[in-house]
């Protein structure tokens, strides 16, 4: 399966995935208008139709969608993206909570306004000038013509440009992490997922996570976690030595 040829039928776009990417990179399509969840759904249903896991396709898709999400997030928070990524987890949670709280409040305010409008539907005001009102003469003091030039210079000021550098990041395929984890389990019976992925980028860690889930589906490992966000412990099973080439048996639905 070739991810780039995935046919999409979204509100904002209809066509193959690679055309969407091209349009987004050329800034001919507003990424903010693209519902990325829809793309994920399209990919999943395509996988399901095929009935088999294509790990390379999954890896490629994950990378592209992660990049799209990041780009979208940067588009929405242009000047803050960097700042946000530098926040400590506690601060990030605080910031997220603040935004969620703002949004909840604005949703309630919107509901209040709607009610208000409903109640005001029988109140008609004149919206234009009165038919027989005196004509208004607006006089403007003498203006400095330099202000005209200044206005255009302000319009000519380049905004800081969005970095597209992260779109070009290279990511290892899922299979690389499969091999790496199998090698670790050959030496030890267990390891902590977090310590294995320490130092990797977020997207690489996500690819590793997919590989870990893959091993579990295949019965090569079992996973333990004391609570949400606690470290994930990966334990090798005895079956592990007997399993090879599980990719082909992986059923998309079980993801």
């Amino acid at each position: 399966m070739i991810v780039r040829e995935l046919e999409l039928d979204l509100d904002a776009f209809e066509g193959p995935f690679d055309l969407l990417l091209t349009l987004v990179l050329r800034e001919e399509l507003e990424l903010a208008e693209v519902d990325i969840a829809e793309i994920v759904l399209a990919f999943c249903s395509r996988l399901e139709e095929r009935g088999r896991l294509d790990l390379d396709a999954c890896g490629e898709f994950l990378v592209l969608v992660a990049a799209l999400l990041e780009l979208k997030a940067r588009g929405l928070f242009p000047e803050e993206a960097l700042e946000l990524s530098e926040l400590e987890p506690e601060e990030a949670a605080e910031e997220l909570a603040r935004r969620l709280a703002d949004y909840r409040r604005m949703k309630e305010a919107a509901a209040w306004l709607s009610e208000r409008l409903e109640g005001a539907s029988e109140r008609f005001f004149r919206l234009g000038p009165a038919p027989l009102a005196p004509r208004v003469e607006r006089q403007l003091a003498p203006q400095d013509p330099e202000r005209l030039g200044a206005a255009l210079r302000l319009l000519a000021t380049e905004p800081p440009s969005l970095s597209l550098g992260h779109m070009a990041l290279r990511f290892p395929p899922v299979s690389q992490f499969l091999e790496r984890f199998r090698a670790v389990l050959g030496r030890r019976s267990r390891f902590d997922f977090e310590s294995e992925v320490a130092g990797l980028s977020r997207v690489e860690a996500a690819v590793a996570f997919l590989a870990m889930l893959e091993l579990r589906k295949a019965g090569e490992v079992s996973l333990e976690q004391a609570s949400s966000f606690a470290p994930i412990r990966v334990l090798g099973t005895r079956a592990a030595t007997a399993k090879e080439g599980v990719e082909s048996q992986w059923i998309a639905r079980s993801a």
Partner: protein, 200 residues
């Protein structure tokens, strides 16, 4: 029961009240007590007395013209019993078909304005361009300069028309932010709890 037509009250409002009603009938915006005092060249206390007098005369049930305090001032509107007739004659393009997204955007601009489209997008989580353009076209929000920090993005604020359409005496008549979003604090607490558990 055929009484003679006596439209003129036996107790005609005094001269100042007549001047005030004249000002209100030609104004295109609500007029504050101060606006009225300056125009009528009288003091604000006497203007307030005149407004009280006019408020009784121009009230629902008594008159087709109703005096209302709105958008930081006073304005005449049509009585509710004439709403249907007004609806037949005047389109209400301003209010017609305001979507949920438009309401949220209006709320954000009303509370946080002047603010930019990226500001609105940050709170709503989706782009706000077409919604903002629609609200500008309806005259409910208007440009208010550019934000020098946010790459020259245009800032928007709500207009007096917004207050009139929503029947607000002023923006201060909006619910207090603290009284909105009771759930928000709960969410915040939960997220903070998660953050504490998270290994650094």
């Amino acid at each position: 029961m055929d009484r003679p037509l006596r439209l003129i009250s036996a107790n005609p409002v005094d001269r100042l009240a007549r001047v005030v009603e004249a000002l209100l009938v030609v104004a295109s915006q609500p007029l504050s007590v101060e606006d009225l005092a300056v125009a009528a060249n009288d003091d604000t206390e006497r203007i307030e007395t005149a407004l009280r007098l006019l408020g009784e005369r121009y009230s629902e049930g008594r008159s087709g013209i109703v005096l209302e305090q709105v958008a930081g001032g006073w304005a005449f509107r049509a009585s509710r019993e004439a709403a249907e007739a007004c609806a037949t004659l005047f389109e209400r393009p301003v209010e017609r078909g305001l979507s949920g997204a438009a309401m949220e955007t209006l709320a954000i601009v009303a509370y946080f304005g002047p603010c930019t489209r990226p500001d609105v997008a940050r709170i709503r989580g989706v782009a706000a361009d077409s919604v903002v353009a629609g609200l500008v076209e309806r005259g409910l929000i208007a440009e208010s300069g550019r934000d020098a920090e946010a790459a020259g993005a245009i800032r928007y604020k709500t207009t007096p028309l917004f207050e009139r359409v929503f029947g607000l005496e002023s923006l201060a008549a909006l619910p207090r932010l603290d009284d909105l979003g009771g759930e928000a604090d709960e969410i915040r607490e939960r997220l903070e709890a998660v953050a504490e558990k998270r290994p650094a």
